[in-house]
Amino acid sequence: MPGEPAKRTKREAYKDSLPTDGQNAAFPQKKFYRQRAHANPFSDHSLTYPKSPAEMDWAKYYPAYAVKTEDQDRQEKEKEAAVESHDQGQTSGAVVKGITQPVEIADIGCGFGGLLFALAPKFPDTLLLGMEIRMSVTEYVQEKVRALRVQNAATSGYQNVSCMRANTMKFLPNFFAKAQLSKIFLCFPDPHFKQRKHKARIVSYTLNSEYAYVLKPGGIVYTITDVEDLHRWMTGHFERHPSFERVGEEELEGDVCVEIMRSETEEGKKVERNKGLKFVACFRRIEDPPWP
């Protein structure tokens, strides 16, 4: 979003003023990253995304987990061998920097990242990724990740959390392999009230198949919203999908993620201030049935 010229100049000046030596511990200022609330998930944004999860440069996002050079040499050799045997089409040129373990928790439409920063210390051995379609908001979260990593360098805190710009409604399978994730968060999704825009909703029967694809059996989709109609919509579409079952109330009570989702998301806080209602619903990915 271009914004008025004065505002843009201020933003640019602010971003130019940020130190680039990687030692900057200051949090980014949110006011320079705000962006129009809605991005059209159907349009051809000039997004970058890998052709497949294998081509994703994960080390850029989780440098502390980058595979060591020996491993990388080995990977490279393996790749070459594969090319010789049959994959003659595949170019062996770009060697993708891998990481030692895959991302397992995704926060889809993470906004300013409140949930991620609260979850990261609770799951120190798990990689978390925020995915956000709005460029500027993504940059904010990335800056904040950088600052937190500098601040917590002594304990290697926040190395397990990162954020990238992505339109998850179109490109989720470009980032994640089948059965890779154990948790997906869908917190306070845009409601898209108008009937005409329902296909823009981040939950639908057909999109749920993609969530099921990237989730391990037993993995969970967490949803929360303050819009009752949207809550009913999401519940309806997940319950109707044969790959999911609703997680019971008792189980939710004991789940730390549910508590964090209520209290730590930016939207959750806003709703809290306005004394609004919050509707939580979680769904477990069940094992695929045998072929008919």
Binding site: S43, K51, Q88, G89, K170, N174, L207, S209, D288, W291
Partner: protein
């Protein structure tokens, strides 16, 4: 001038060593059929249109469209243009899509080569590609919005009463289909053309505000958040799969019915839109679109086996032909190809897969033998841009490709039109045992009537089809182009919106 056949589809039957075939062609909003035995038909027939003869008797025949008014009754023949033809596996039915009214039409094919429309079901979103399950019970319709719906080929009485079977709360609501009252083939006067343009524009903008649920059984199976461009139904051993391709480079492999909600995997590697999928005789998947390469997949393992640079083949062919070489951009780096068709050649004799490939606006077919290690191909020059291909089998081990070519536009161009009546609308290539293609004059002879058959109207068969006096038919150039050429439009324009 005759309008080209934008789609053709053959139906081959063999009974006790006897081979006969029928060719169906869509010419604008008409269907033309002819069988190897000589039987023929045109749909709609004169009986099911209300022909109102308001033109003077001496009006030349080449403007028959003006004389035809189509009654607006429910079963009225369409004035929408056909965009897709599929013959059922049992050869009993022809399933066709008409584009502007988004309608799926099922026809029974009788022994006399006549078509009887059994149903017309207008979808909420424009169908881009359709296929049938291997048992012919179900039509799978992939649409512009990214969704795939299952419809019974022959709806039972209760199917139509019970319309609560749609995909869900949102899918229940479907817009009232909008049908332009005129088509490019029935309008020739300047003012009517404007009206038509408005109507087509309106149609493309989408339906009116009024929404009402579709009144027939249609079940949402799966969906991409991207325009679907092709759909293939595959059965391997006892397992069936639905393979879908979209404008965002995705090829998705889902389980077949009734588990189509389960995604088994993706074939990843394309960097531009995908427009066509093709399963070869041996079960490989070939995909193509806006990329320079065709991709050849072991799709059950989601593994890319080979890339074949179709763009290089086209480029080499252009360079070798002076008239085509002149069309190349100064900087050949800017030369782009968009695959508009991939067909698996049904040749039970050879052990190797053979495919034919067409690119939009290119007056040639490219024939490839898929090898174990590498694929080799050759260009087959044609006298017009390729629009569609289908295969007839004149005998047990013979196979002839019938090629619909664009007789309106000049070879290599999708905008420039011929000044004269243009070349023939069909070409016939028989596959030789040595792997080359040669002209088939026998099939060509049988299809003479089909080839000459009128485009717009001319239901009573009086007179000649083409108009040498006026070029009225070309005044709707853009509309004609939209029917014939839509593939390159799928390409994303850099920074189109952000």
């Amino acid at each position: 001038m005759a309008f080209p056949y934008q789609c053709i589809e053959a139906c081959n039957r063999s009974r006790g060593g006897n081979h006969d075939w029928t060719l169906f062609g869509a010419c604008g909003s008409r269907l033309v059929a002819q069988s190897s035995s000589g039987a023929s038909s045109i749909w709609p027939t004169a009986e099911n249109v209300d022909v109102k003869d308001d033109a003077p008797e001496d009006e030349p025949q080449e403007r028959p469209g003006k004389r035809i008014k189509l009654s607006p009754s429910a079963d009225a023949p369409s004035t929408s243009n056909f965009s897709c033809l599929v013959v059922s596996n049992d050869k009993q039915y022809l399933v066709a899509v008409t584009a502007e009214d988004k309608c799926i039409r099922v026809f029974q094919i009788d022994s006399n080569c006549q078509l009887h429309q059994l149903s017309q079901r207008c979808m909420a979103k424009r169908p881009c590609s359709i296929t049938l399950t291997s048992d012919d019970s179900t039509i799978l319709c992939a649409d512009k919005f990214g969704d795939v719906y299952a419809l019974p080929l022959i709806p039972s009485a209760e199917d139509n009463l019970n319309d609560t079977l749609a995909g869900g709360p949102s899918e229940q609501a479907a817009e009232k289909p909008y049908t332009p009252a005129a088509s490019v083939l029935t309008v020739h006067s300047g003012r009517n053309r404007k009206v038509l343009e408005e109507q087509l524009k309106q149609a493309s903008k989408g339906p009116k505000k009024i929404k009402e649920p579709l009144k027939f059984k249609h079940e949402l199976l799966l969906g991409h958040v991207s325009m679907l461009t092709d759909i293939v139904y595959a059965t391997i051993n006892s397992r069936s799969y639905v393979i879908t391709a979209d404008r965002d480079e995705h090829i998705r492999v889902s389980r077949g019915l009734p588990q189509a909600h389960i995604i088994e995997g993706f074939c990843q590697g394309h960097e531009e839109f995908i427009s066509k999928l093709c399963l070869t005789e041996s079960g490989l998947l070939v995909s193509g679109g806006g990329d320079a390469n065709l991709f050849i997949w072991n799709w059950q393992q989601y593994r890319l086996l080979e890339k074949v640079c179709i763009r290089d083949y086209v480029l080499r062919h252009y360079r070798a032909q002076p008239q085509l070489a002149a069309l190349l951009p100064e900087d050949e780096g800017n030369f782009k190809t968009a695959v508009s068709g991939i067909w698996s050649v049904p040749n039970s004799q050879s052990k190797k897969d053979v495919i034919l490939v067409a690119c939009e606006g290119v007056p040639a077919l490219f024939s490839f033998q898929l090898g174990d290690s590498s694929t080799s191909g050759e260009a087959i020059p044609l006298h017009g841009n390729v629009l569609d291909v289908t295969f007839v089998w004149p005998s047990q081990d013979a196979c002839t490709a019938v090629v619909a070519v664009d007789n309106v536009h000049k070879p290599g161009s999708t905008t420039e039109t011929h000044d004269d009546e243009g070349p023939s609308r069909l070409q016939y290539l028989s596959y030789q045992q040595d792997g080359t293609w040669g002209e088939d004059s026998i099939v060509g002879g049988i299809l003479k009537w089909f080839n000459r058959r009128a485009s717009a109207g001319n239901l009573d068969g009086r007179g000649e089809e083409f108009d040498t006096k006026t070029k009225a038919r070309l005044d709707d150039e853009k509309a004609v182009r939209d029917i014939l050429y839509g593939v390159e439009n799928l390409r994303k324009r850099a920074g189109a919106d952000d």
